[in-house]
Symmetry: C2
Subunit: 158 residues, 2 copies
């Protein structure tokens, strides 16, 4: 049987999960090759939220869809690994601002380059216009599902 037909039978939720994991797995395979083998998918999303000005623990927790303590633990690891730093909050003495280090900025840059390559290959597969429509449609679906609210809680369910 033509395998393409088999995939054609996948329902939308399976397609979304597999597409997501495919791209993230490829990204991390390449990050490993480049010396960033200690990074997990959540780190990449955290870096994205942190740039360019830093982010608080609360902001990261909301964005990622995990608790403040979980964020704190991840930041502990990333700080120890040299990707981020905790800074005091400019206006709130209770608060901390998590910022990227030079190595963190490098990792972020490399990540973006790899994702651009992956997406470019996907564009060659389905065409520029179709990629544009794919993104627009997914954006509409997410927008509708969240009743117009800002996106957060990136962590996929399971």
């Amino acid at each position: 049987m033509d395998n393409h037909l088999v995939f054609g039978e996948l329902d939308l939720t399976s397609l979304l999960s597999l597409s997501f994991s495919s791209s993230i797995n490829e990204l991390h395979d390449k990050l490993s090759e480049l010396g960033f083998g200690d990074l997990r998918p959540v780190h990449g999303f955290m870096f994205k939220c942190i740039t360019p000005d830093g982010a608080t623990g609360i902001e990261l927790a909301e964005y990622l869809g995990i608790t403040k303590q979980a964020v704190s633990k991840i930041v502990d690891f990333l700080e120890k690994s040299g990707y981020v730093m905790r800074q005091t909050h400019p206006t709130d003495k209770r608060g901390k601002i998590i910022v990227l280090t030079e190595r963190g900025w490098l990792a972020m840059k490399v990540k973006d380059e790899i994702l651009t390559e992956i997406e470019q290959r996907w564009i060659e597969n389905i065409g520029t216009e179709r990629m544009q429509m794919l993104k627009e449609d997914l954006t509409k679906l997410v927008y509708e599902a969240n009743e117009g609210k800002l996106s957060s809680r990136i962590r996929p369910v399971w």
Copy 2:
């Protein structure tokens, strides 16, 4: 700022994750209302793999992207909750075949109905043709990422 613009800035991996979680969250909200509040997302995917003829532990592990023991634990829970049964394998005395019970089939049917409703609403949002293209494009991307192999490992990374 127009929130739509904000979403427009989401990268593809974020869009995929959020789309996935949005649909699964809505599904499980409705399943809870209908008395299936003890079901997790992985259960729905497991039911799908099981139908119509049952599945072995190995098949479920591969399909879901978790270990045989993790499957065994989940099957323990679902058996206790009345959704599945273990049967002896027809040709391999070592093996078991996991099948759905009447309640399992009902849950599967209700799940499919809810997902059809969600998808119908999404079709009303973006149009029949665009939904068709969305699925085709995601299928191509997953197919290419898996080098033409059959889909498995549904569990999203994180």
